[in-house]
């Protein structure tokens, strides 16, 4: 279970979990859940396009993810944010549909891009995944204070000369980088589950930012490890365990809070 290809899987999936826990926490805090869904999901088009013309999948993912982040960030300030996000997403998915329909080996390829192929991590892929993971973690660490400030107190941030728009765009780009390395491992659809479930669960238990961030990473790791182990035993798709695990943790967190705090206080 821990040897050979599975060892790579454990390493790659752990890196993915840490990054998903971190970026997911800020995505939930900043109310950018939809963008967190749209960027990995839309980046799928990049992977499909790249495999069609025979380029490295990670390059295709990165290009489309960054383009999507820039599109959402640039147009989102002009019109309604959710509408722009939705339209950017469908544009990317529409392109993905064309690429997939042109490729001859689509079905299996599509499935693994959307739902992940965690056991397919080769020795050579571990290093770039770890490198990109480190870059994403550093990018969040460097900008921790402005990210926190613009999320919690946007007016104060503006008054102090921190541009909410620029921080927004920065965060979207970090998500795009994180996405391009995680999609080949967990798949476009489940990257989102891994980002939102743990972060939402952590935030429903504690309001303190540092604790919540750590908890979010811990839950993401726990879900990932548990999912791989279950996947290894049952051979059911990893995505099933990751997706339902995230939702389950959130419900547990919500239930714990309902029990601990009187209902009238949770409404604040």
């Amino acid at each position: 279970m821990f040897t050979g290809l599975m060892a790579n899987t454990w390493i790659a999936a752990s890196v993915v979990a840490v990054i998903a826990g971190m970026t997911g926490y800020f995505a939930v805090l900043r109310g950018q859940t939809f963008a967190a869904h749209a960027i990995p999901n839309g980046a799928f088009a990049g992977a499909a396009g790249a495999s069609l013309i025979g380029v490295n999948v990670i390059v295709g993912l990165a290009v489309v993810a960054v383009a999507g982040a820039l599109g959402i960030g640039a147009l989102g300030s002009k019109a309604r944010h959710d509408v722009i996000t939705a339209l950017t997403l469908v544009l990317m998915l529409g392109l993905g549909a064309v690429f997939v329909s042109m490729s001859t080996q689509y079905a299996q390829e599509t499935y693994s891009l959307l739902f992940g192929q965690v056991t397919g991590v080769s020795q050579g892929e571990v290093a770039p995944i770890a490198g990109l993971g480190l870059a994403a973690a550093l990018a969040i660490g460097v900008a921790f204070r402005p990210l926190m400030l613009t999320s919690a107190l946007p007016e104060v941030a503006e008054a102090r000369g921190v541009s909410t728009r620029k921080v927004d765009l920065y965060f979207l780009l970090v998500m795009a980088v994180a996405t391009s390395m995680t999609v080949p491992v967990v798949g476009a659809l489940l990257m989102f589950s891994l980002m939102i479930g743990p972060a939402a669960a952590a935030r429903s238990v504690t309001a303190r930012p540092g604790v919540a961030l750590a908890l979010s990473v811990a839950i993401a790791l726990a879900i990932t490890w548990l999912s791989i182990a279950l996947f290894y035993r049952t051979n059911w798709p990893l995505g099933f365990f990751v997706g339902t695990g995230g939702a389950l943790f959130y419900l547990v967190g919500l239930g714990a809070r309902r029990l601990a705090v009187p209902r009238s206080l949770t409404r604040s």
């Binding site: 805090l29 939809f34 309604r80 939705a86 099933f240």
Partner: protein
Amino acid sequence: MHYLVEPGFLGSPSVRTALIVGTVVAVTSGVIGVFTVIRGQSFAGHSLSDVATTGGAGAFLAGIDQFWGFLVMGAAAALLMEGIGVQRRRGRDVATGVVLGGALGLAALFLYLGTLKTASTGASFTILFGSIFVVSPDTVPAVVAAGLIALAVIALLARPLLLTALSPDIARTRGVPVRAVGIAYLMALAVDVSLSAVAIGAVLSTALLIGPAATALRLVKSPVKAMAVAAAAGLAATWIGVLLAYDSYYWPPHGHGWPVSFFVVALVLAGYLATYARRPRRLLPRSPHEEAAECSPA
């Protein structure tokens, strides 16, 4: 004429079915989409369509028509989202996201089990991206009926829906049951999304829901006019999309059609971007404070 419409276009029964389904979907999506955009629920709309994927995969597994899978799963997800807490704007996005994440996990399982059961691997592609040309004629009456029901619900609830969208507080003081209206609206949305999932695929139904409505709301101020414009725009995009997809069998690469979904999405987006050429007139101007309020902690 043959340069525009390839021979046999209107004579083909699958094209006729596609046009009927496309019309129902475009009109329903246009009308409901206007409310979705005004209420700021694009994410919920998109999530319901992704959740419908789960239903589609489940139906494929159980061997029943996909449409029913879309419908049942969409309605269940709408209830769940409302139950977790869709009322507050921020809690709503997280609740939507969690339901979506869980449902996608189930979709992965169903698709996996489905491919174990049958040798065909093309199912996940059809479920996700749809294929309006393979809609079975038997489904058409159900599609039309579901579309009419969704439209009727929206028509009955139009006034309270608009009021709760623009000012929940005023609606509450006037005795509008805000929560019940929200649930009814999400249900209509779920029905509509299952319709478009059949037509252009689960993951792309967002295009028909949000695109024409957002375009219309940039062009006209009155919500009623916007509904008409959105329905017309969606209709145009669907029809031209079906026509182009049919023609595309004669385009390079030879003998290989382009997906209808792509044309519909491209046309819808082109329409939306074209509105930027005009001086923008918005129904609801977005103030920086509103943005800020959305970003602050609950």
